[in-house]
Assembly symmetry: C3
Homo-oligomer: 476 residues x 3
Amino acid sequence: MSPTPRSDILFPAEPTQRALARELYALAKDQPIISPHGHVDPLILADDAPFPDPARLIIVPDHYVTRMLLSQGVPPAELGVPTVDGRPVETDGRTIWRRFAAHWHLFRGTPSRLWLERTFAEVFGVETALGPQTADEVYDTIAARLAEPEFRPRALFERFNIEVLATTESPLDDLGRHAKLAADGWGGPGGRVITTFRPDNVVDMEFEGWADNVARLGEITGADTGTYRGYLAALRDRRQAFIAAGATSSDHGHPTALTLALSETEATALFERGLRGTADAADAEAFRAHMLLEFARMSIEDGLVMQLHPGSVRNHNRWLYETHGRDVGGDIPQATEYLHALTPLLDAYGNDPRLRVVVYTLDEYTFSRELAPLAGGYAALYLGAPWWFLDSPEVLRRFRESVTETAGFYNTAGFVDDTRAFCSIPVRHDVARRIDAGFLARLVAEERLPLAEAAETIVDLAYRLPKKIFKIGERL
Amino acid sequence: MSPTPRSDILFPAEPTQRALARELYALAKDQPIISPHGHVDPLILADDAPFPDPARLIIVPDHYVTRMLLSQGVPPAELGVPTVDGRPVETDGRTIWRRFAAHWHLFRGTPSRLWLERTFAEVFGVETALGPQTADEVYDTIAARLAEPEFRPRALFERFNIEVLATTESPLDDLGRHAKLAADGWGGPGGRVITTFRPDNVVDMEFEGWADNVARLGEITGADTGTYRGYLAALRDRRQAFIAAGATSSDHGHPTALTLALSETEATALFERGLRGTADAADAEAFRAHMLLEFARMSIEDGLVMQLHPGSVRNHNRWLYETHGRDVGGDIPQATEYLHALTPLLDAYGNDPRLRVVVYTLDEYTFSRELAPLAGGYAALYLGAPWWFLDSPEVLRRFRESVTETAGFYNTAGFVDDTRAFCSIPVRHDVARRIDAGFLARLVAEERLPLAEAAETIVDLAYRLPKKIFKIGERL
Amino acid sequence: MSPTPRSDILFPAEPTQRALARELYALAKDQPIISPHGHVDPLILADDAPFPDPARLIIVPDHYVTRMLLSQGVPPAELGVPTVDGRPVETDGRTIWRRFAAHWHLFRGTPSRLWLERTFAEVFGVETALGPQTADEVYDTIAARLAEPEFRPRALFERFNIEVLATTESPLDDLGRHAKLAADGWGGPGGRVITTFRPDNVVDMEFEGWADNVARLGEITGADTGTYRGYLAALRDRRQAFIAAGATSSDHGHPTALTLALSETEATALFERGLRGTADAADAEAFRAHMLLEFARMSIEDGLVMQLHPGSVRNHNRWLYETHGRDVGGDIPQATEYLHALTPLLDAYGNDPRLRVVVYTLDEYTFSRELAPLAGGYAALYLGAPWWFLDSPEVLRRFRESVTETAGFYNTAGFVDDTRAFCSIPVRHDVARRIDAGFLARLVAEERLPLAEAAETIVDLAYRLPKKIFKIGERL
């Protein structure tokens, strides 16, 4: 899918740079989408069933949207967000949609505004601008489209020009949806829809139900996860299953970037305290930190690229968590230290060409101080795209302005959309391509880079670099 | 007062954006000034006496000016700043003014330069640029104006198009100046000049004379402030008196943003240690942190908006403090943590629509990491304008660039001038309006926001939002 | 040497600002270079021998270059970087050069790219753009030039229009190279090549061989450095020798900015624990911190300007350090706190006009929060130019945007190139002049500063300020 022809959205206003940005963007805009990190439910593509109504598709699951309305006093229940205790919430899609439209002005200047507006226009062909008066019209147009076969997930996947989409599953997932995809010629190694190994729920002792999860891991693999060695064996086993389902990377979402090199004896002791229920917060942190070294070792063996997503304080909004549960907009970033935290990992494997670690951040105030010097100084380290609260035009621009001078372009791993919102994938990648085009245009206009090299670079950033760094299409 | 017609000061140089900025600014520039937070002495408006000479009005009390000269070796005494021990200082206004003018180049690129220069030109009609050669000419022009009745405070208030000006008083203040203003039809609830409840000197045990202040609080209110319960009752009593004098908000200037939810027993113990003189620094910090929760509870009862100003290390310049006392330019910002610090307050009341907390910062390196996600995720929280060292064109722009994407415009509380310099109020608000016009112009030029919505937004930012968020004109 | 005539490199693309930037830059570009801080080996100028081959001159010693290639898997040994244990490395200059050229794309958008490219063109007259295909051609052109007498160091020094170049030596250096320079009319007080007193290796107990270095300090000076008093006397003695060799400043590279005011008894105890080998990390930190106060006292006596370079974690890349030693690209910045760290020093001497301290940073996330308020509030403090990882166009611009509003221009100390790469000195200074021209052009275009004042300012920044602040040409 090509976005609106000749649109100058997000390009610099200054004419010389705008002309250059257009020229560079033209090279990137039709590159296939590589989506190596995201949270689309693979069932959507395995089943290829029609999407539900517009509110259930677009509003209810989008915590960027529901948190903004909460910040202005609209309770999530009025937007249909399910409650933990089953207390009833709004169920009428049209009512939810009208409430959302009534607060549309809150999103001025936000990436949500940009993503939604362009998704309405470019994916669903809505020709009217959203607003309180046009809520029903927009709703009806989208609803009508969703009933058409061209708006089934797989048809959109083709239209979106997605080459590869990675979903994210826990080791406890049976990968059945990916098996269905593989059976249909859509999944498996080298396939169009692949999985990612995300072991947080069996690694983080503070995760609700960790010990039960470890027990289930044992049942699934037949390993004795009552012992630390059995636990590691089970993880290795699941990684093989994930690789067989197409995975090329693992993903690790930790509160901090801490890594630790413990002896097997120390790690075993922590693991056993965890299972006995006597581990404290420091034990849990140490175990998570140590496991990053274990996973690095496994990556060196089996080839999975490691992704590290630190810095989110989960469920900071306690009332929201207690009422609506996890992943509904109550997480907040915290200051994140990388230099000392990553030292044990980097001491052990930082210069090892067999390892590849992609590090993300929610704390942009580490870009030039820690992240760029680390990525520009260690062979194993790459910088992930600005993430979550930061995957927005202004921060994508500041990212290039802050890391390129020390890390260059080629130690950055390309854009990841990190989204559950399948229909927003093309516009999210398009935003990143436009910002990169604008940044490169400035370098050219300021005589810092010849146009021919900028042209090569933008295609690298849009397509070649993420494909290479995430080993997309490679057999591990 | 409208600033110079057709001036393009602070607008982006690029013609498309400049034209848009002009158009947007035209909508904002004549909006009445809402000044919900500042430090003008209410006596100025209660008495409506002529201002003193230019140096005493403009140089001596402006610590932005005297600290810059100190940083280049000019002692504050040579600029007329009074000493703690009464040691004589320069008293001749013209001499002070000449010293200031001789160092005018130091202010290039600073907001002080902008504020002063435009105040000279637009308030006092000075047509000559200030410099060492023109010091006397500028001084004489301003001095002549100050003798005219049109330059009395109330006349300027009208000319400045100020709708409401909030001053700041301690609970120990008898509010007599505000009573005078009310008697003249200028003050009281819904009035033009209102007060703000600022209890630091009876809350912060590290404040010089805290125990004496608490005793005086008891005398003023008739409550027994020798007990914690009596102390709380006295504070509630004074808040009612402040509300009767027009207050719509309280203000809290703390070294950190720490909040704590202590039991009454714990709080009582701290309070008693304070009175006995045995409280240490940790006790003082805990008591301040706890009192923020008490004040939040009082706000839920009486409706005052809470303002929190954390992050200033007071009297960092020890020699300056010892020689010239408080508030003369010796304070320096420190790194400020919000996420964990505010958790107890947010756990208790963060989603409560009855509470409104406006949080400020001196640490811009929290904009996108903590402040925007918090304000964009809690109903009770709003972001105050960049403050003090940060209320400058470049930072006002970075503020919009850094917080809008996550918090939008409508979780920000509008500009506050925070100033003692009455004559600089219009230009300070004008600077903020120009920067917002330029930021919105860029969004329009980059096709991120239609002009009509930008036009609505700039009026919201200049007038409607601060009026609403600070409950200006509302009866509590 | 004037850079390419009419080149618009690094100027803003917008025509109004570009025209102003050209006009301002024209005033700065031919100003003599004041280089008050750098790491050129004085032997180069003392001997005035021809430079070695292009790879040995440009690639092997430049850790910006070798670390970028390491980050993409090219081991430093393949680029000729010597090993600690003498294990053989690549020695063929042409082979090294080809490897470098093959990875030239990695440097897109980096200052290394800019420095190297312009050095090739403007210093060596290379007319072909570097790339894998042109590696030999560029190599041969440079090699041919290096054989010509006009490319001897002293000839280049003249052509580069350097007025004064400061090198950096340890107190253990015999200053023989500077004696040779003085004998040739190039060195000594007021000379063209001067030294800087850098005592880290006799101050930092964690420095390899510290105790031996202290012993050698005693031998050199005849003082009894087995006692703390003797140690201080020896340092005072060496400072006099450095002043006799032209030094106008000292330089202190510490992990943090901590300062401490210890009593002589406390300092003596630390010193003695250090000599006995029983000092721990906290002792070493305390001793370094205390010595900054001692050096401030010595500066007040002898007039040397103090430079403080905190925030580098040395040898973070452990494998690199173990294989190739110090100063080969393995250092990484850490978060740096200034406010509390500098308090003891500022309490003691912060307002003393006899002291001058230039503070640098590797952590730009302190610019507006701590550094600008400190420099704008203490007479003794100046801000050094963005340093090392930060001496790049984007950060030089952010530095002006972030510190000017609070510290003005006149509390900043001018650009320092901080380089060992003699041939890159003119282009590095030129980059800073161009960025300052662009920043001032924006102030003028936004009607914040009249052109005449911008014109005076750019010459101050390029020449007058560094000369004055570093006391260049003054007799101490």
